[in-house]
């Protein structure tokens, strides 16, 4: 449905997007996620036709978009600040794309009603945008983007301005409508949670470069580089060195500890690595307990935060060069609670520790230096 091949865009000396290649299948919900300034919005604007790539090409439905102006593309877009037309009612906003795209005037009122009903806004059709709540304005913007049956729907962080509860409701609402209509969708966000909740596929961007594209579960389970590991999920990192390697497992020394990590990366013995471990994969327990997993280090609780459904610990591990590991305990009801300054033992399975080649890997920018410190 959408093919993006080697697309680059340079502003002055800054490469906002470098050599981006990705594709979106018909009916898919793809999310481009990354920190602000990673190039995701630039990419979206080029797809919408508000900006042109300096190199590479964009094809939608097999047609090259180079010479197709924005107003001739069959794309609906929901803008970050919604960009509703302030002088038009909800119904007029939704009718606007139909008028501009020269739909049969007799069909317009019916379509407007259908789509306002789809976003559950039928009774507010005669209100102006400023007479609607944030969530209602959002729904008008969705209806306006979808009413003419676009080939592609673009979402430019439309949920970022909403409060948390409304945002989570709208995430599900977007997903419901998207699946009901089966419209191919590209969503842009900096919110990893939103990306995981809503998407069929996720593209992680950083420094204008696509870091990884995968389905949400695979992305979470098998990050391909330290940036993705850190950006998606709560991951602690610390440096180490490979001492032995088999296809199944890697042995790493980190500080005074010898650890087993997931194999398969062909790092080579002696290679410097960055180790990554997710907070929910670490088991916290007393130092005198029976060993449960291949890897065990001793630490001291530095911080404990109770979030209701989970307990969040920050544990300093002197044996890992003083690295601080984030730990989630998902059963604060039946598990012991450890207080600040209390000595504990952290354990995790070899398959959960990922060793990445250290230093600037080809696709990763260096500004995110591995520190092995608290990462949330």
């Amino acid at each position: 449905m959408v093919e993006i091949a080697g697309v680059s865009r340079v502003f002055g000396t800054v490469a906002a997007v470098s050599n981006a290649t990705l594709h979106v299948d018909r009916g898919d919900f793809l999310t481009v996620v990354g920190p602000s300034g990673c190039g995701k919005t630039t990419l979206l604007r080029m797809i919408a036709g508000f900006d042109r790539p300096d190199a590479g090409e964009i094809r939608i439905g097999g047609v090259r978009m180079d010479r197709v102006p924005a107003w001739q593309r069959s794309i609906g877009m929901v803008f970050q600040k919604l960009a509703l037309f302030p002088h038009m009612t909800a119904a007029e906003n939704v009718a606007y794309p139909l008028k501009m795209r020269r739909f049969d005037p007799a069909r317009i009122p019916g379509l407007v009603d259908d789509y306002l009903a789809l976003v559950r806004l039928a009774e507010f059709k005669d209100r102006r945008p400023h007479e609607l709540s944030g969530g209602q304005q959002q729904r008008v913007a969705i209806a306006r983007a979808l009413v003419f049956g676009p080939d592609l729907l673009l979402l430019d962080e439309p949920l970022s301005a909403l409060d948390r509860k409304l945002r989570e409701d709208m995430q599900l609402e977007f997903r419901r409508i998207q699946q009901e209509l089966g419209v191919t969708t590209i969503n842009v966000t900096h919110d990893q949670r939103e990306a995981l909740v809503m998407s069929d596929r996720i593209v992680v961007m950083e420094g204008g470069v696509i870091q990884q594209a995968d389905d949400p579960v695979s992305l979470y389970r098998r990050p391909e580089n330290p940036f993705v590991a850190r950006f998606i999920g709560v991951t602690s990192m610390f440096p180490g060195r490979v001492t032995a390697e088999t296809p199944e497992a890697v042995t790493v020394t980190a500080g005074e500890a010898t650890l087993k990590a997931r194999g398969g990366a062909a790092l080579g013995a002696g290679a410097a690595v960055e180790c990554a471990i997710r907070a929910e994969q670490i088991a916290i327990g007393p130092r005198d307990g029976a060993p449960r997993f291949e890897n065990a280090v001793d630490g001291i609780v530095r911080q404990r935060i109770f979030e209701g459904e989970r307990m969040v610990y920050a544990v300093e591990v002197p044996g890992l060069g003083g690295a601080v590991l984030n730990v989630f305990d998902h059963d604060p009801v039946s598990h012991s609670v450890y207080d600040e300054a209390q000595p504990v033992r952290l354990e995790w399975a070899a398959r959960d520790l990922i060793a990445f080649p250290a230093g600037p890997a080809p696709a990763v920018t260096t500004e995110h230096k591995p520190t092995g410190s608290l990462t949330t």
């Binding site: 919408a48 036709g49 508000f50 102006p69 924005a70 107003w71 001739q72 794309i75 609906g76 877009m77 803008f79 970050q80 600040k81 919604l82 960009a83 509703l84 037309f85 302030p86 002088h87 606007y96 794309p97 501009m100 795209r101 306006r144 983007a145 003419f148």
Partner: protein
């Protein structure tokens, strides 16, 4: 308000003093215009519409009033497209020499009206249009244009810069985008600015003094001429006319834009 009694008295006292000093001259002139006597005085002697009647009999007044409407209409008609496009262009688009253009457009405001009046008199004389009425309207447009530009700029600044992209995304080509989205969205500023330009032109005295002669004299200049001879209550009646026109403008502003929006100066 929870403040002490003395604080409330002080604040309300200040409010009332301000309101009275602001409105008293107006109220006095309205009262004086209804006098039945021969001279302007307050309180008026008796009550009559005599001076309104006399004013209406005066052909010189009626002609000057008509000319003032004509001049103000020209001023407004020129300033609407010029001011609107200039404001949208300088605020919204990254045009070349944007700052220079902005300064240039606001320049008339920094020049004393006497200087503007003299220079336009000389210039209009050179190109042989001095003595006609329409150039007066153009001149008033030039000196007051900053007000129009400010008014529209405020509206342009208040709208989401993405709405034009949104319109294009909806399938509107650039001209359609401008006509159906940009222009209506800045309309409050355009209407406010247009009314302002009309009122300013209607009141303008100094530049008109340089550019008019006895055949093209406008109402403010006519009033000036008549107070140099003898001050009669018909001048109070003219003043009331001015007050009425200002009120009509405020009324129109409320109906067309909404005073709440104007007062919040969004």
């Amino acid at each position: 308000m929870r403040g002490s009694l003395s604080k409330r008295i002080a604040i309300w006292g200040l409010v009332w003093v301000s309101l009275i000093t602001l409105s008293l001259p107006t109220l006095i002139v309205i009262g004086a215009s209804f006098t039945a006597g021969e001279i302007i005085r307050f309180p008026p002697e008796g009550f009559s519409l005599r001076w309104y009647g006399e004013l209406w009999q005066l052909d010189s007044f009626k002609a000057a009033l008509a000319r003032t409407f004509y001049v103000s209409a020209i001023c407004t008609a020129v300033s609407l497209p010029v001011g609107t496009l200039a404001a949208i262009a300088t605020v919204r688009y990254r045009i070349r020499f944007r700052n220079a253009v902005q300064v240039y457009l606001l320049l008339p405001f920094t020049i004393p009206l006497v200087v503007s009046g003299i220079s336009m008199m000389i210039f209009f004389g050179e190109i042989r249009i001095l003595g006609q009425l329409w150039p007066v309207g153009v001149a008033l447009c030039i000196i007051n244009l900053p007000f129009m530009i400010w008014s529209v700029s405020a509206s342009v600044n208040a709208i989401d810069p993405e709405i034009e992209n949104a319109a294009m995304n909806c399938g509107a080509p650039p001209l359609q985008t401008f006509l159906t989205v940009t222009l209506p969205a800045v309309m409050p500023g355009v209407i406010t600015g247009g009314l302002l330009m009309f009122i300013l032109a209607f009141n303008e005295f100094l530049v008109s003094l340089f550019l008019t002669d006895s055949r093209t004299v406008t109402l403010p200049v006519q009033i000036y001429n008549s107070i140099r001879s003898v001050i009669t209550p018909d001048l109070a009646a003219v003043s009331v006319l001015y007050i009425a026109i200002a009120l009509i403008a405020v009324f129109l502003l409320d109906r067309l834009v909404g005073l709440d929006i104007f007062l919040r100066s969004k």
